[in-house]
C-alpha cells in the first residue's frame, strides 16, 4: 500500500525558522521533534542527527511504538512530500520507483513517479519486501536517482528514507543484505516509553486525535532550509586528533572482528558526519570524543551484524582500548 501525503501547509504567520542562525534552528528543530514523540528524547535527537547528516534511518522495533509518528515528524522538518510504502512480499520494484505507461490518447509513454520520489519515504516493514524490491531502493538511497527504462530520474535534493522492521518476527521476511544495510546512516530502537510519558500520551489522546500526538508541540516549523543546515553540519570542525581517534576505534573494531569485517571507510565517513550533526545538536561547532562515542552504537550497529549483546561487548572493548585525546597537545 502506498500513500502520498503532502507536507502540512505552513500557517502564514509561523515562518519561524527563516533566516535564523543554524544552531538556533537546529535547537528549535530538536525541541519540536522531542515534543512530537514524547519520552524519547534520545531517539529523536539521533533521528534528527541522521537527517542533518544526510543519511537514511533504519528503525527496528515492535509495532505501535511511534515509528510512523517519528517519520512523519521528520518529513515535516524536511519540509517536503511524505510517502509511505507498506512493504509486502508481493510489492514490486515498480511500485516503489514508478513506471512508464502508454497513453493511448496522447499516443505517448508517460512516466508515473513512484513513492521514491517523495522527500521523505517511509518504508514500513522493509524486511517483508522481496530482495528484488529491496534492491530497487539501493540505487535510490546511494545515488539519489532511479533509472527506469534506461532513463535516469533524479530524486529530490534531500531524499530521506526511514525504513522500519520488526526484529522479533522472522517468518516470511527477507533480512536486509549487508550491502543495503551499509546504505543506512544509523539504526535505532525506539522502545517502550516510560510510565509517565504513556499517561501523558493518553491524556493528550483524549484532547486531540490519537494520530496527532504532537498537537501541543507548538507551531509547525516552516522555512527550514535543510540544505543550508546540512552544509552547516558538514562544516562542523573535527580536530585531527578526534578524527584519528574515530579511525583508531574503527580499526580496533576491524582487528577484533578478524580483519575482514567491521566498519568500511564509507561507514567511518558516515560516523564522522553523524558525530558532526550530534555536535551541532548539542549546540557546538566542533566535535568532541564524546560525540564520537555517543553515536558509535547507532552508526556501527547497522554495519556490524552481531547480536546486540555481542555487539555491545565488542564496542565496549574497542572503546576501552583506545585512549581519548584530551587537550590541545593530545592525551
Amino acid at each position: 500500500m502506498t500513500t502520498f501525503q503532502p507536507a502540512a501547509a505552513p500557517p502564514a504567520d509561523h515562518a519561524v525558522f527563516v533566516g535564523s542562525p543554524p544552531l538556533e534552528t537546529i535547537s528549535r528543530m530538536r525541541r519540536w521533534l522531542r515534543a512530537a514523540l514524547r519520552g524519547k528524547d534520545e531517539v529523536c535527537d539521533l533521528a534528527l542527527a541522521c537527517l542533518l547528516a544526510g543519511g537514511h534511518l533504519l528503525i527496528e522495533d515492535a509495532p505501535g511504538l511511534g515509528k510512523t509518528t517519528l517519520a512523519k515528524a521528520l518529513a515535516v522538518l524536511a519540509g517536503g512530500r511524505f510517502a509511505r510504502v507498506q512493504c509486502t512480499p508481493d510489492l514490486l520494484p515498480s511500485d516503489v520507483t514508478g513506471f512508464t505507461l502508454y497513453n493511448q490518447q496522447s499516443r505517448q509513454f508517460e512516466f508515473h513517479a513512484g513513492p521514491v520520489f517523495a522527500d521523505v519515504l517511509l518504508a514500513d516493514e522493509i524486511n517483508r519486501a522481496t530482495p528484488r524490491t529491496q534492491s530497487a531502493l539501493l540505487e535510490a538511497m546511494a545515488e539519489r536517482q532511479v533509472t527506469i527504462d534506461g532513463k535516469p530520474h533524479p530524486l529530490p535534493g534531500h531524499f530521506f528514507v526511514v525504513a522500519t522492521q520488526n526484529p522479533l518476527e522472522h517468518l516470511g521476511t527477507y533480512p536486509l543484505p549487508e550491502a543495503q544495510l551499509d546504505r543506512f546512516g544509523i539504526r535505532l530502537r525506539i522502545g517502550y516509553p516510560a510510565r509517565g510519558d504513556e499517561v501523558e500520551l493518553l491524556r493528550m489522546a483524549r484532547s486531540v486525535g490519537p494520530e496527532d500526538g504532537h498537537g501541543e508541540a507548538g507551531s509547525l516549523p516552516t522555512g527550514i532550509e535543510l540544505d543550508r543546515l546540512q552544509r552547516f553540519v558538514a562544516g562542523v570542525a573535527v580536530a585531527e586528533r578526534v578524527a584519528a581517534y574515530l579511525v583508531d576505534v574503527g580499526r580496533e573494531l576491524r582487528a577484533r572482528l578478524g580483519g575482514d569485517r567491521g566498519p568500511s571507510p564509507r561507514g567511518l565517513l558516515v560516523w564522522q558526519r553523524v558525530a558532526q550533526a550530534w555536535g551541532a545538536i548539542e549546540g557546538r561547532e566542533h566535535v568532541t570524543p564524546d560525540d564520537v562515542r555517543h553515536v558509535a552504537a547507532p552508526v556501527l550497529g547497522v554495519r556490524i551484524d552481531l547480536p546486540k549483546r555481542e555487539f555491545d561487548g565488542l564496542l565496549d572493548a574497542a572503546l576501552a582500548a583506545i585512549a581519548v585525546p584530551v587537550g590541545r597537545q593530545g592525551a
Binding site: 557546538r284 564524546d290 576501552a320 581519548v324
Partner: protein, 801 residues
C-alpha cells in the same frame, strides 16, 4: 645485666659534649637491637644484648683513652684510625661471624643495619661533637623502630619497653635541664630517678603481655587507595541503562531439567541458570532427563511435591560440564542487569559456597533443608553484623557499597566478600534471615525482591598472587582444617609430587606467604580456557586439570587452589557469585552493572577470626587492595627490609611509634602535601601569560584525581569521568558544566577558542573550587547550597543511605 659505664668525661675546652649514663644506655640498646636482627632465632636474645653492650662499652672506653683527631704524630693518628675503624666494623664483622658459625644467610638488610650500628660506634669513638651525638641517638632510634618489626625474642620486647622509657626520660631531662638553665633556682631531674620509672614501665609492659604481630595488625589498618582503575583499564567503563534495563526485562530465562524451589516459579535467572549459560550444562542422569518432559499446567499442579533429587539445583556445582554455550539467538529485549553496584570495583559478590568435593562435584556438607538460624546482631540503624559473632568490627577505613538486585533470582543476599555489616532499610528483624553457609545470609522464606538495595560495609581484599606481603590485611594466623569435610580422596600422591615440584612442601609454614605462593603457582601452572571441558569419565577433574590438560575455565583454577590448600592443612572452600569488574557502567545511574558474563568461581580460605578470605587464582583476574597503594608499598618495604616471623613479639611502644610514623606519612599527610604541591603548580601556570587557564585547570583536576586514587582512565572522556550525573548542567555558567564545555571548545575547537582569557580564568577559578580533593576523594558530595547534590562517577567511599 646491662653494663652501665661511668660517665664519659670529655674536655669541655675541646668542645666535646659530655655523654651521660642515660645516653650511653640508649646507645647500648640501639646496638643490641642491631645484634638482635643478626642473630638466628635459635640463639638466645641475651647474646645480642651482651654483644651490643660490649661493643658500646668498648667504643666509650676507646674514646676515653684515645686522643682527639689530629693530636699526636702520624703514627698516633694511624693507630687511632685503625682502632676507630675496627670498632665501627664490629657489628658487620660480628654479623658475619655469627652467621658463619651458626649457619644461615644474612640478607642485605642485615648489613644495612650493621652499617648503621657501625656509624653509631664510629661517632662514639671519634670524639664527636654534641650535634653528632644527637645523630647517633637518631640512628639508634632508627634501629629501635626497625626492631619493632624484626624482634622475635621476648627479651627484645623488654628491651623496647626499656628503650622507650629511657628515651622519653632522656628527652624530659634535656628539656628540664634547658629550663633549669633559663630559670634560676630550678633543680633538674636526676638520672637516678629514672630507675623506679623504668621499673614501673617494665611491670606495665610485662603485665600487658606480648602483643603478637602487632605490626601486622597495624599494617592491616593502613589505608589503600580505593581506586580500581589503576591497573584495570576496564574499570568504570561500559554502557547500559541500568534500571531501565531492569524494568524492561520480560523474557523468562530460568529453565532446566532439574526441579528446585526456583524452577518454573520465576522468569528471573538464578545463579544455577547462569552457571549453565556460562559453563554449559552438567551431565544429567537418565532419571533426571526423564523428568524433563514438559508438563501441562494441570500436571504441574500434580507434581508439586518435590522429587528426591530436587534439592541440589544451585546447591552443588559440577566440574564436568558440556562447555560454554555459543549465543546464537537473535537479540531480545530481556534485561541483562542482574545486579547493580555502587562503589569501588572490581569486587566479588558471593552467592554460594561449597565445602565438599567428590572428584567431580562440589557440594555443601550441611543439610540444605536444615538452614541454621544465624545469630543476628543488630548494630543500630538497621545495620546487621554479617561476620563471625564476636569478631571486632574494623576500626580503619572500610569500603562502602550499595548492591541493588536486578533480575537475579536468589534467596542469598549478594554481599561482597569480607562483609562486616549490611543494612536493608526497615528490615532488621532476625527472623527474616537464615544462614545457608558461613557469611552467606539469605532471606528466610523468599528470594530477594528485585529492586532491593543492600548497603554493605566491607573490606574486600584478598590474595591474587601478586601481593608481596599478603598477610598484611588479615589475621595473623590461619585455621587448620579440622572441620573440613572429608573429600573422599584419601592419600593424593600426585598432589604431593606436584607440590614438591613447585617447591612447596606439605610441611610448609601455615602462613600467608604459603597461601600466596600456591595461588601464584596455580595461576601460572595452567592456561585459562573457558571452553575447555573435562571428559565425563574422568574420576577427578582437578587431577586431570593439574596434571593432564593444564587448561580450563575459572572453576578449575578455584577448585585446584581449594584442594591444594586443603591438602596443606588450611580450611578452604569453593565460592561462586559475581566478579563485578566495572566493565559495564551505566553512565546515568553511575552504577556498575553485573551481567551474566560476570559469573565467577573462586576459592576462599578462613583466617583465625573466622573470616573467609577470597583467593583469586584465575589468570587475568585481580582483587582489590592487593598492594597498590603508597601506604601499602611503604609497609611492605619496611617488612621486607628484615624478614619477620608470624609469631614475633613486638613492643607496644614500637608498634605505636611505627604506626604513627607510617600513618602520618601515608594516610593523612601525603595527599594534602601532594594537593598543595599541584595547587601551587597550578597557580604558577595560571600566572603565566602564555598559558591557557582551562588547560592548566584541567591538568590540576587530573592530578588531584590521581592523588585521590580515582584517576581518569585513558579511554574515558573528561565529560564522562568528571561531570556530575545530575544538577543544573544546562546552564553554561555552572562551574563543572561550564568548565567542561569551555575546555572542550579549547581542546577540539578552532585555534581561536582560547582567546577569551579573562572569561576562561573566571571559569577555571570556579572549577578549581568545585573539584577539590575532598570531592575527588568522594568523601563529600559537592553542590551549591539549595541545589541538588552531585554524584560523581567515582564516588567510592560514599556512605550508603
Amino acid at each position: 645485666m646491662i653494663p652501665m659505664p661511668s660517665v664519659v668525661e670529655v674536655d669541655p675546652r675541646k668542645g666535646h659534649a659530655p655523654l651521660s649514663p642515660l645516653e650511653t644506655f640508649i646507645f647500648a640498646i640501639g646496638i643490641s637491637f642491631q645484634q638482635l636482627t643478626a642473630l638466628p632465632e635459635s640463639l638466645s636474645g641475651w647474646w645480642a644484648i651482651g654483644t651490643g653492650s660490649a661493643a658500646t662499652l668498648l667504643a666509650i672506653l676507646a674514646a676515653r683513652w684515645m686522643p682527639r683527631w689530629g693530636a699526636g704524630g702520624w703514627r698516633t693518628r694511624l693507630g687511632h684510625g685503625l682502632v676507630v675503624a675496627t670498632i665501627a666494623l664490629l657489628p658487620a664483622l660480628g654479623t658475619l661471624l655469627i652467621v658463619s658459625l651458626l649457619g644461615g644467610a644474612p640478607g642485605p638488610e642485615a648489613f644495612l643495619l650493621a652499617s648503621t650500628a657501625g656509624a653509631v660506634l664510629l661517632l662514639l669513638t671519634s670524639h664527636a661533637a654534641a650535634g653528632e651525638y644527637r645523630f647517633a641517638l637518631a640512628a639508634s632510634s632508627f634501629l629501635f623502630v626497625l626492631s619493632t618489626i624484626v624482634v622475635a625474642h621476648p627479651a627484645a620486647a623488654l628491651l623496647q619497653t626499656v628503650y622507650a622509657g629511657a628515651a622519653s626520660c632522656w628527652l624530659a631531662i634535656r628539656r628540664e635541664s634547658r629550663s633549669a638553665a633559663e630559670t634560676r633556682g630550678f633543680t633538674p631531674l636526676r638520672a637516678t630517678l629514672l630507675i623506679p620509672v623504668l621499673a614501673v614501665a617494665i611491670v606495665v609492659a610485662a603485665g600487658s603481655g606480648a602483643i603478637r604481630d602487632a605490626a601486622r595488625a597495624v599494617a592491616g589498618f593502613m589505608p589503600f587507595s580505593g581506586g580500581d582503575s589503576w591497573n584495570d583499564p576496564w574499570a568504570n567503563d561500559g554502557i547500559g541503562d541500568g534500571e531501565n534495563l531492569v524494568a524492561g526485562q520480560k523474557d523468562a530465562s530460568s529453565s532446566g531439567p532439574v526441579d528446585s524451589e526456583l524452577f518454573l516459579t520465576s522468569d528471573r535467572p538464578s545463579l544455577y541458570d547462569l552457571w549453565n549459560d556460562q559453563y554449559g550444562d552438567p551431565p544429567q542422569s537418565k532419571e533426571k532427563q526423564e523428568r524433563a518432559v514438559a508438563l501441562d499446567a494441570s500436571e504441574v499442579r500434580d507434581s508439586e511435591g518435590k522429587t528426591a533429587d530436587s534439592d541440589h539445583a544451585g546447591r552443588e556445582f559440577s566440574t564436568v560440564r558440556s562447555g560454554r554455550r555459543r549465543t546464537d539467538k537473535p537479540a531480545d529485549l530481556a534485561a541483562r542487569t542482574l545486579l547493580t553496584v555502587d562503589g569501588p570495583t572490581p569486587i566479588l559478590l558471593r552467592l554460594e559456597a561449597f565445602d565438599r568435593y567428590d572428584g567431580r562435584t562440589w557440594s555443601t556438607s550441611a543439610d540444605p533443608r536444615a538452614d541454621r538460624r544465624p545469630t543476628i546482631e543488630l548494630l543500630g540503624g538497621d545495620w546487621i553484623r554479617v561476620g563471625p559473632a564476636g569478631a571486632p568490627l574494623p576500626a580503619d577505613d572500610p569500603e562502602h557499597h550499595a548492591v541493588t538486585v536486578g533480575t537475579l533470582e536468589s534467596p542469598v543476599l549478594p554481599l561482597p566478600t569480607r562483609t562486616e555489616r549490611m543494612r536493608i532499610p526497615r528490615v532488621a528483624d532476625p527472623a527474616m534471615f537464615r544462614l545457608p553457609a558461613e557469611e552467606l545470609p539469605a532471606l528466610a522464606r523468599s528470594t530477594v525482591p528485585a529492586g532491593t538495595t543492600v548497603s554493605v560495609v566491607s573490606r574486600p581484599e584478598g590474595i591474587d598472587g601478586r601481593d608481596p606481603e599478603p598477610g598484611l590485611p588479615f589475621a595473623p594466623a590461619l585455621l587448620r582444617h579440622g572441620e573440613t569435610p572429608d573429600d573422599g580422596g584419601g592419600e593424593q600422591a600426585w598432589l604431593d609430587a606436584l607440590l614438591h615440584a613447585w617447591g612447596i612442601g606439605t610441611a610448609g609454614k601455615p602462613d600467608w606467604r604459603t597461601v600466596a605462593a600456591v595461588v601464584a603457582r596455580v595461576r601460572r601452572h595452567a592456561e585459562l580456557d573457558p571452553s575447555a571441558v573435562v571428559s565425563p569419565g574422568s574420576p577427578d577433574t582437578v587431577e586431570h586439570f593439574l596434571t593432564v590438560s593444564r587448561r580450563g575455565p575459572d572453576y578449575q583454577f578455584a577448585g585446584a587452589t581449594t584442594l591444594i590448600l586443603r591438602h596443606l592443612g588450611f580450611r578452604t572452600r569453593l565460592a561462586s557469585g559475581f566478579d563485578v569488574s566495572g566493565a559495564r557502567r551505566d553512565p546515568r545511574s553511575r552504577r556498575v552493572i553485573a551481567a551474566a558474563e560476570d559469573v565467577h568461581v573462586w576459592a576462599e580460605i578462613q583466617d583465625a577470626s573466622g573470616r573467609w578470605i577470597p583467593l583469586q587464582a584465575t589468570p587475568g583476574r585481580r582483587l582489590r587492595g592487593s598492594g597498590m597503594s603508597l601506604a601499602r608499598w611503604l609497609a611492605v618495604l619496611l617488612l621486607r627490609i628484615v624478614p619477620t616471623t608470624p609469631h614475633s613479639a613486638v613492643g607496644l611502644a614500637g608498634v605505636v611509634a611505627s604506626a604513627l610514623m607510617v600513618g602520618a606519612l601515608t594516610r593523612w599527610r601525603w595527599r594534602r602535601w601532594a594537593d598543595g604541591a599541584v595547587t601551587a603548580l597550578w597557580r604558577f601556570e595560571m600566572g603565566r601569560a602564555s598559558g591557557c587557564p582551562l588547560e592548566a585547570t584541567w591538568r590540576l583536576v587530573e592530578r588531584r584525581a590521581w592523588i585521590a586514587g580515582n584517576p581518569r582512565p585513558a579511554h574515558e572522556t573528561v565529560r564522562r569521568w568528571y561531570l556530575p550525573a545530575c544538577g543544573p548542567l544546562d546552564g553554561g555558567e555552572h562551574a563543572p558544566a561550564g568548565f567542561i564545555r569551555a575546555f572542550e571548545a579549547v581542546s577540539y575547537g578552532g585555534p581561536d577558542a582560547c582567546r577569551d582569557r579573562a572569561g576562561h580564568r573566571r571559569i577555571a577559578l570556579a572549577a578549581e573550587r568545585f573539584w577539590t580533593l575532598e570531592v575527588l576523594l568522594g568523601r563529600v558530595t559537592a553542590g551549591p547550597a539549595g541545589k541538588p547534590s552531585f554524584s560523581l562517577p567515582f564516588l567510592c567511599r560514599r556512605t550508603p543511605t
